[in-house]
Amino acid sequence: MPSRSVQDYLKAIYHFNEMGLPAKTSEIASLIGVSPPSVTEMMKKLEKRGYLQYTPYRGAYLTEEGWSAAEKVMRKHRLLERFLTDILGIDKEKVHEQACELEHSLSDEVEEALCRVLKHPDTCPDDGKMIPPCSKEVSSCLECVEMRRRVRKGRELVPLTALNVGEEGVIAFIRGGRAAVQRLMDMGLTQGTRVKVLASAPFNGPLELMVRGANLAIGRGLARRIFVKAATP
């Protein structure tokens, strides 16, 4: 479970990414109420932990990991908002702050119970935004599943291993030790490079890629740490 301040940052970035926008340092700063330099520092930490990918002048996007961590907090936050307005009848203007406090101490069990009691709400009360779906596959909640798919479509970063043979992607970032990353870049896997998966060895073996006109084999463990934006061939 990420620390409270990390959760707050993830939430803030989620807020922008959800609308398909990158989260800019200045905007995050004003949203959380801290100075831009400390935001920058935190962003670096979060990037190191693999929660997000940061492009200068453009802003930050959550990675798969960051997205699910943020989703978890967001979901608690918005369920709490619903609970506070619908059941307790508290004023809409006040629920956001209250939910911000409560979300960090809400256990998964309570979250689930809230969802049941509220009859699987779709949106939160104050701004009508969607409540992120729960992390479980709820078969009774078709809408929930559908929504999950819709939300995910906005975000295309996947590890290289998620591509099928014949598919292509553009490298967004590489996570890993200095030597390995340096080596991958030396072999031509720099940011923005288009790669095509040519073959995949069975039993979790390596991938064969076409990179800059050369065929390369990359071990599965490394390939998992190369994130690409899926591209149409």
């Binding site: 970032f173 073959a199 073996g205 390369l216």
Partner: protein, 656 residues
């Protein structure tokens, strides 16, 4: 450095001698060019203190003597592998007169990434645009004149196997040397990075170093440890400056400096490559491409691999067995003649057993397997099939802490550990070579298998023999894992090129085999002969009886074996077969069941399997990894064998 014009006579003499270095990516046909240039005038050895092959040769052309050094195939001039460090040090410190950058026309962009880095060190340079025929088959036509103009370095198109362009290349090299043409090329990064590189290189001008300041500035920003050492030992205060500048670049780009600079280099390489290549209309997919696909196919690929590996194994060992048998009977006849000639007195025996026997062991055991192995390895390397095997076996090899390339040496280890350990060179980093060599030395070789068959399988049944093998593989798995954890350095997953298939050339295969063999004989034979000498002389002087007494607490007390096995195990160091042959002669019977219990046989065989690499293996371990590491490997294996044997003796004692 030494280019100042001196007096005429001396100058002429100097001018006739040119030192050139071949540099380039792996699989670009560099060794073929090397071979075309030097023919039989070459020497293969090691870089001092390194497990990296150093191939040198000479060529005479129009009154010039040209020394050619073939640098290892690398993709960058960073510090990822020992090869990279060796190459850049050689280019910057030894300053060859001309660097010939061999470039693969069919993968121009990636090759130019390396060319750009070479240009940053700014030696005199000529580019050999090689494999233009293969590029055209792939539908790529490179305009070499344009490339020459864009890089400001002479470019000579070549097709090395057919000797096309090689003479022109030599002419160009001489011309560049005579006219002292230096490339005027700099990688210009984006303004925000460029400003900081310049600021830093201005501060580096006074540093005494073979590297140009600008190059050092870039390397410092990239976080290069070697350059950091050079610079910070002289000007420690610069560390803060570098850190600050690096942080600024990272702040702007949001990525590490090395990533920013690698991208800049590749962007440039991409631009140049695009400008001077022309995409031809492709023919239908050729046979080569179909073969490339089939050999990595999840089903077909493994079937092809099984056939190739089986053929390789069978070929190497059938040939080896045949020649060994032939040579042994030959030497037996020589021995008879020798005895007839000199008699069997002390001195005659000492000379034969102590000196000649060691030489014979080397010739009959090692050489017959090593020659076909070197040929096979060279063909596997040059054809481009080796990476495919690595690709298919990577997942399985990860279980013992190696990646796919380690499969070939390990498979060969089942025949003989000597070629297996030599084969560990195909691993890239020192760390992986060491783990691979260690694991290979544990693989039960053909001789060990003979002992298991002769003792355990014969007297205890096949199931026990199988059990022993399973036990051995478990040990390999365990020790391999421990080595993986214990070996220094960062483990790196598989990153390798899958080169297009090529026909290996006979001349390259033959000369590689021949010169590698020479190197082997010179380094490994003396160790084998010396080792043999020490043991034989101790035997003649009766020291072995003392040794038997000294060892008996371990052999008899801990392992529960007959005291005589102390001697057989000692001789087993020379060759493992002796542990069985001598046992028979010392015990005075070949019916081992009469003198040993089943438990003793099992324990004995286990100890023989693990306890020590044979003298030939120790010799190659020393050749590849040095005395210290060989000593550690040997001690670990002896210690582990004793521990395991004692434990087995006690466990099996309960069962029987």
């Amino acid at each position: 450095m030494s280019q100042e014009t001196s007096s005429k006579g001396e100058d002429d003499k100097k001018r006739r001698h040119i030192r050139i270095a071949l540099a380039g990516n792996a699989n670009v046909g560099k060794s073929v060019i090397f071979n075309q240039l030097t023919g039989l005038h070459q020497h293969i050895g090691n870089w001092p203190g390194k497990t990296v092959e150093r191939a040198e040769g000479t060529l005479s052309y129009r009154g010039y003597t040209i020394d050619v050094l073939d640098l290892p195939g690398i993709y960058s001039l960073s510090t990822y592998s020992i090869e990279e460090v060796i190459s850049r040090q050689y280019i910057a410190v030894e300053k060859p007169d001309v660097v010939v950058n061999v470039v693969d026309a069919s993968v121009l962009e990636r090759n130019l990434f390396f060319t750009i880095q070479l240009l940053e060190i700014a030696p005199r340079m000529v580019i050999a645009l090689n494999q233009i025929d293969m590029a055209e088959k792939k539908g790529i036509k490179v305009n070499h004149e344009k490339l020459e103009k864009l890089l400001g370095v002479p470019v000579v198109p070549t097709i090395a196997p057919r000797n096309v362009g090689i003479e022109e290349l030599v002419e160009k090299v001489i011309e560049v040397y005579e006219k002292d043409v230096r490339p005027l090329f700099t990688l210009k990064c984006g303004p925000e990075v460029e400003a900081r590189i310049e600021k830093l290189s201005a501060l580096l001008r006074e540093i005494k170093s073979p590297y140009p300041p600008r190059w050092m500035a870039i390397k410092l920003l990239e976080g290069d440890e070697e350059v950091e050492k050079i610079v910070y030992s002289e000007k420690p205060e610069l560390e803060q400056v570098v850190k600050a500048l690096g942080a600024e670049i990272e702040e702007i780009h949001g990525h590490s400096v090395s990533s920013v600079i690698a991208s800049e280099r590749y962007n440039l390489a991409n631009r140049i490559a695009r400008e001077c290549t022309e995409q031809l209309i492709r023919k239908r997919r050729g046979f080569i491409e179909k073969l490339e696909e089939a050999t990595v196919h999840p089903v077909l690929g493994y079937m092809i691999m099984a056939v190739v590996v089986a053929a390789l194994f069978y070929g190497v060992f059938r040939f080896g067995d045949f020649v060994t048998a032939l040579l042994e009977s030959l030497f037996d006849m020589v021995k008879v003649a020798y005895d007839g000639w000199f008699g069997t007195g002390f001195l005659a025996t000492l000379i034969w057993d102590g000196i000649i026997e060691g030489l014979i062991a080397g010739i009959t055991i090692a050489l017959p397997y090593i020659i076909p192995f070197y040929i096979a390895l060279s063909i596997l390397e040059d054809s481009g099939y080796l990476p495919r095997i690595a690709f298919l076996m990577d997942a399985a090899m990860h279980k013992i802490g190696l990646h796919g390339k380690g499969f070939i040496p390990l498979i060969l280890g089942f025949g003989c550990n000597v070629p297996a350990i030599l084969g560990c060179r195909i691993m890239e980093t020192d760390r992986e070579r060491l783990i691979c060599g260690f694991v290979a030395s544990l693989i039960p070789c053909a001789a060990t298998s003979v002992i298991v068959m002769g003792l355990v399988a014969t007297y205890m049944g096949t199931n026990w023999a199988i059990a022993l093998y399973i036990l051995d593989f478990a040990i390999i798995l365990l020790l391999g894992r421990i080595a993986f954890k214990a070996a220094p350095g960062e483990p790196v997953g598989l990153i390798m090129e899958m080169p297009a298939y090529r026909r290996p050339t006979i001349s390259v295969t033959a000369s590689k085999t021949w010169f590698r063999l020479q190197d082997f004989i010179f380094t490994a034979f003396p160790i084998m002969i010396a080792g043999n000498f020490v043991i034989q002389i101790s035997s003649l002087l009766g020291l072995l009886d003392v040794a038997e007494k000294v060892m008996s607490p371990v052999i008899v007390g801990w392992l529960g074996l007959p005291a005589a096995t102390g001697i057989t195990l000692t001789f087993g160091i020379l060759r493992k077969e002796l542990t069985l042959i001598l046992l028979a002669s010392l015990m005075g019977t070949t019916n081992f069941a009469a003198v040993m219990t089943p438990v003793q046989m099992f324990v004995y065989s286990t100890v023989v399997m693990v306890y020590i690499p044979c003298i030939a293996t120790i010799a190659v371990l020393i050749k590849e990894f040095g005395y210290k590491r060989t000593l550690i490997i040997t001690l670990v294996e002896i210690g582990f064998a004793i521990l395991l044997g004692g434990v087995l003796y006690r466990i099996l004692g309960i069962l029987f």
